[in-house]
Each structure stands twice: as C-alpha cells, then as structure tokens.
C-alpha cells in the first residue's frame, strides 16, 4: 500500500504488492514504442497479459474547449495538432464540416488540390506507420528507407504550403494557394518513386520476411463484430474483413469520380493490417496519377463564392469597397453559420475522422466534438491485449496506429 505524504504524493491507485502471482507494470508514458504518451498499466501472469488498462490524457490540450472560444477560421490551424502526422486530413475534415453547415462547396480546382493533398497525406501517414511499426517490431532498416520517402512527400507539402508538419493547407471554402509551378511534375516523379520503393524496398524487406511474419501473423486478432462494437474504423476495420471506406461509401470531394479499389483483408491480424497499409499506398498513388491531368482542366478559382461567409479574393478586397467591408467584418467578428448541427465523417489515414459541430448562429461554435479514430482504437487495447504475451504488446500498439494528438485532443 502506498503511504502518501507531502514528498511522495499518492499519484495513482496502483497496487504493486499483491498476494497472487501477477505483476503490475507501467508501460509508458515514456516508452519509445508507446507512440507518444500512452500509459498502459499491464497486469502480467508470467509473460502473459491478464489485464490491460490504457491510461490516456497526457497530451490533453482541450482542443474542443478551444474551439468554443475561437471563431471558425481561427480554429483551423489548431486542427493541425490533432493527428500531427497527416495534418491536412484534419484541416480538411474540419473545413468540410463547416462547409456542410454553411451549405457551400469548394470550386473544382480547390477540390482537385484538396484531394491531392489528402492522398499525399495518406502516403505520408502510412509511410510513417510502416517505419515506426517496423522499428517497434525490430526491423530497423525499413524505418530509414520509409522516412526517406516521407521526407520527399513532406518536401512537396513544404513547396505547397510552407510547412512540413502543421500544414493548415486547407481553408473553409477552398484552398489558400494554387499549386506552385512545377509542383505537379514533382508529384508525378514522387508517385513513381513511391511505387518503385513500395515494390522493391518495403515489400522486398517485409512481405515474405520470416521474422516479420512470425511477429505479426495471428497477433492482435480482432473479429469483425468486435471491431464494429469497439468503434474501429479505417484499416483496423477493413483488416477484419469489413468493406467500409468512407471515400467509397459516402464520397466527398472528387472521390466519386476517381477510380480506386478498397483493399480488404479477412485475416483479422496485424499482418493483414500491415498489408492493407501497403496496398492503400499503392491506391493513393493511383488516385494521385488520375488527379494530375484533372488539375490543368480546371478554372483558376480557389475559394468558394459566398460573400456572407468567405472573404472575396485579394484583388477585390483591394479594389472594391464592399468586399473590403465584408472582409473586415469576417476577420474581426468571424463568420456566423446558420443554427444547426452537423456531423461530417471523412476517411483520414487512420480511420473515420469526424467533426460534430453545433452552431447557435454565433461566430463561435457552441460545441465542437472531434471524433478521432485513434481514441477508439486506444479503447480497444484493453480487450485485445488480454491473453497476449508482453512481446506482442508493442506489435499490437503499433498496428493500431494511434497518434496521441488526436487521442487526447
């Protein structure tokens, strides 16, 4: 029993000395493969996990509270800090939710650029997954190769918006910038680079690797019913044989016009999920290749025309008095969406990222709830870790692909 006093405070209700044979250990919050700030309290019987209790909140910044105290445009850069591995997908999910509330649609060129950025972010995130997952399991060299390609993708993001991690590359109603000259060609060469490396490096290093298969096969098995019940989405759900991808089923942006497949695995284990991530990268490259010719066929307009909500283009603000007045009101007071509530799901690289926004007609959201996929995948850990061996715990945390920016928000 702990004896708390001023110098040794009573931090957590943990009992390390028990009569039975089990041992309680703290996995994290500083464990290198805890993917951030996950504290996992594990009760072990020998090397087997009897009970797992994921403890989160070490990265809680109150982003939902901040949303209630910021105008809609002010909050957009904050969404970068949710899933900081692929921040454009958060910006986009938020912007789409507000756009649905306002009833506006981005112009065609903005849609092409947004879809490009979303898929580029998917590749960035999946490369990061494969790098860290392989590193956690013990394959060091994959990490180095995957991070090399991720750097190229981040260079592309940097050329577009100037930032490598916190992109804020999407605005409510469109995108802020057109693609710089030569960017599309760089994207095309990046696509072929990723495709080549996918085939010749990652698959060659991992797919039939005996150690990799032994570490991943039949580890972290989760049935389809369990996955649905625990709120799993994205590769976690498709890895259990449920064919559900929001890009296909509830298409947003240009996904209804694009030709791509949804890989599904019915293996239900970590190896199946790893295969899904690899296949999805290939599909993202396929989508990007289709988007490149679409870009040149679009009109140059980048932001939706909705003067009540969105500022006019810079030339109009500089030349027309009324546009300047509206811009001033929109910047100082913020836009006032109609009263109503909306829940908009998008397929982020990690699963269903949805924003629930309740508007009372004020410039500040009355309530904003961010439905983060990683939050529910973390909840799942308390079930799938039970009965596994301590060596597989790292593999299972890796395969859930949780990012603590969006778990704790």
């Amino acid at each position: 029993m702990q004896q708390p006093n001023k110098l040794t405070p009573f931090f957590e209700n943990l009992n390390f000395e028990r009569d039975d044979n089990t041992m309680v250990i703290n996995f994290g919050p500083q464990h290198p493969s805890a993917h951030g700030q996950l504290r996992l309290v594990l009760e072990l019987e020998g090397e087997q996990v009897v009970k797992a209790y994921p403890d989160i909140g070490y990265l809680h910044r109150g982003i939902e509270k901040m949303a209630e105290n910021m105008t809609y445009n002010e909050f957009l850069p904050t969404t970068d800090r949710l899933d900081y591995i692929a921040s454009t997908s958060n910006n986009y999910a938020y912007a789409l939710a507000v756009e649905k509330l306002l009833g506006i649609e981005a112009p065609r060129r903005a849609q092409v650029i947004r879809t490009m950025l979303l898929e580029l972010n998917r590749i960035i995130s999946h490369l990061f997954f494969i790098a860290t997952h392989a590193l956690d399991v013990g394959a060091m060299s994959v990490f180095l190769y995957a991070f090399r390609e991720r750097e190229f993708a981040m260079d592309l993001m940097e050329d577009y918006c100037g930032a490598r991690l916190t992109h804020s590359a999407v605005r409510i109603g469109g995108v802020p910038l057109d693609l710089p000259s030569g960017w599309v060609e760089k994207l095309a060469s990046f696509c072929s680079k990723v495709e080549y490396e996918l085939e010749h490096t990652y698959n060659a290093l991992l797919q039939e690797n005996r150690i990799w298969k032994m570490r991943l096969e039949n580890v972290g098995v989760i049935s389809a019913e369990e996955a649905l019940s625990w709120g799993c989405t994205g590769p976690m759900l498709r890895g259990s044989g449920v064919n559900w991808d929001i890009r296909k089923e509830e298409p947003y942006e240009l996904y209804s016009e694009l030709d791509f497949d949804i890989p599904v695995s019915d293996r239900c284990d970590s190896y199946g999920r790893y295969r899904l991530y690899m296949e999805e990268m290939g599909q993202s490259v396929r989508i990007l290749r289709q988007l490149i010719p679409m870009y040149s066929k679009t009109e140059p307009q980048l932001m939706a025309h909705a003067p009540q909500y969105i500022s006019a283009p810079k030339e109009e603000i500089m030349t027309q008095n009324y546009a300047l007045m509206q811009h001033f009101v929109l910047v100082t007071q913020g836009m006032r969406p109609p009263k109503g509530e909306v829940y908009v799901p998008t397929e982020s690289p990690k699963g269903e990222l949805g924003f629930y926004i309740k508007s009372e007609g004020e410039p500040y959201a009355y309530r904003l709830k961010c439905r983060a996929p990683s939050f529910f995948h973390t909840g799942l850990l308390q079930e799938i870790l039970v009965g596994t061996y301590i060596a597989d715990v790292v593999t299972i945390i890796g395969t859930t692909n949780i990012v603590f920016g969006e778990v704790d928000r």
Binding site: K6, P9, E12, N13, I56, G57, H60, G62, E64, K65, M66, E68, N69, M70, K100, L101, G103, D155, E226, L228, S229, W230, G231, T233, V242, W244, E249, E250, T332, Q333, G334, R336, P338, K339, G340, E341, V342, Y343, P345, E352, G354, Y356, K358, E360, G361, E362, P363, Y364, Y366, R367, K369, R371, F375, F376, T378, G379, Q382, E383, D408, R409
Partner: protein, 261 residues
Amino acid sequence: MRKYTPKDNVQGKSYYTDRFWVAPRVPRMEVEEGSHFANVLKALGKKAKETYIEIGTLVIHIDAKKNLEIIKILKEKCGYTQCSEQSAVDYLANDGEFELFYQLLNITEAKRIRVVCRLKKGAAIESITPLFKSANFAEREMFDMFGIYVNNHPFLKRILMPDDWHGHPLLKTYPLHGDEAASWYEVDKIFGKEYRDVIGPENRDPSRIDRYDTKRFSRVGYEVPFGADISEGEKENPIEYSETILVDYTKDSGKQLDERR
C-alpha cells in the same frame, strides 16, 4: 461601472452583434415515405418524439430514460452496428439541461442517424456499453468533460483529466484558461494547499520568464554578472565566434543549394 458578464456561460463571445440580426437555421427535412429512414422510424414507433433529416443525417429525439431500449432496437432491427460518437452539449445556462447525442452508423446501407436526448442537471444516463463497447471510452470522456454520471458503466472514471481534478472542463461555466483550482493544481498536489502563500502566484508557473531576474535568466548577447541589477538596462555584449573552430555562416563561406535534390 464594470461591464456585466454572465457567470453561467463564460465562453468566448462576439464583441458586436447587430441587434436586429436573426440567425437562420439549417433546413430540416421531413422523412420521405418508403425510404430507409422511414423504416427506421416505423421500427421505433411512438418512442421517437421528434424526427427530421438535417444535412443528410436522421435526427431522432428520444426520452433520456429509454436510450438503451431505443438504441437496442436501432442496433438489432435497423442494422446500426456502430456507435461512431457519443457526447453531450451543455445547455445548462439556457434550459438547465444537457443535450446528449449518439451518432450511429449503418454499414450496409451507408446511413447515419443521430439519437438526441435531453438530460436534467444531476440526472444520470444509462450506459450503452452492453450494445457498443466503444461507448466505454466515449461515456468516460463525457463524464470527465461534463460530469454526467452514467449508470451501469463498467469503469466510470476520469479519462483525459487527472483523477483528482476539480471541475469539468467542457461546461460553459468553466473558463478557457482554467479556474482557481486548475491554476494551483501542481502546487496543491506536490506541496499542499498551505504552500500556495509560500510559493505565490508569481512562481506557480514553471514556464514564467522574468526579464529582470538575473539570478535565473540571462540574455544571449547581454550577459551580466549573477544577480546584477539591470532595471536601468544592460550593456550589449556582442557574440564573438572563433574563426578557427566555428564557421561563420553569415559570411560567404557556405555553399547554397539552389535546387532540392
């Protein structure tokens, strides 16, 4: 006289609102006959109090006491096999109630519904964890953020905030920068409440920087002896680089890459 600020909602407010401005409402559609949503409403019968379609989602207002029963019907008879999200909205200042919502998803039909119920302050809601395990974390978060108690939850405990936290952060009465207890949280926890006076408000923030405190801080390029008084300003102390060890990149010694590889 000081401007009156309402204490029941201390969140950000617009500094100016036109007194004749009336916010429009997002259009609410009726459920069409023969659609999937009409079948859902038929299955619920009179249990659904108010129903409409808002931005593609069917919204069903129900009685908070019947939440488990109704969501069970939706799951088992209408195929809503996933609970995407579950949380609350604070309407205590207006109505003395919370608005709870359950966002459900039907994977075979690709349809979403939102089940909404109102809960009086201090009342508890029945847990839906027997139906959806994802509600385990979601309901814990709702309890943590709003203080709404959930009956028959397997492990109702704070999830994001520390266990001994005072207050529920997403309430409209909770200020953005935290309340009194939040600002003294570390001091209370490590030293005890009686040390608040000893430590004082100026020292409770570990990231606080005092421009004129030369005992704990120094400025690059303006170094002074330990504890010197610099209230009158300090002398500039230019940085000198050793040419033999360090390369001064301000001169034309570096090679500039004009093209990314």
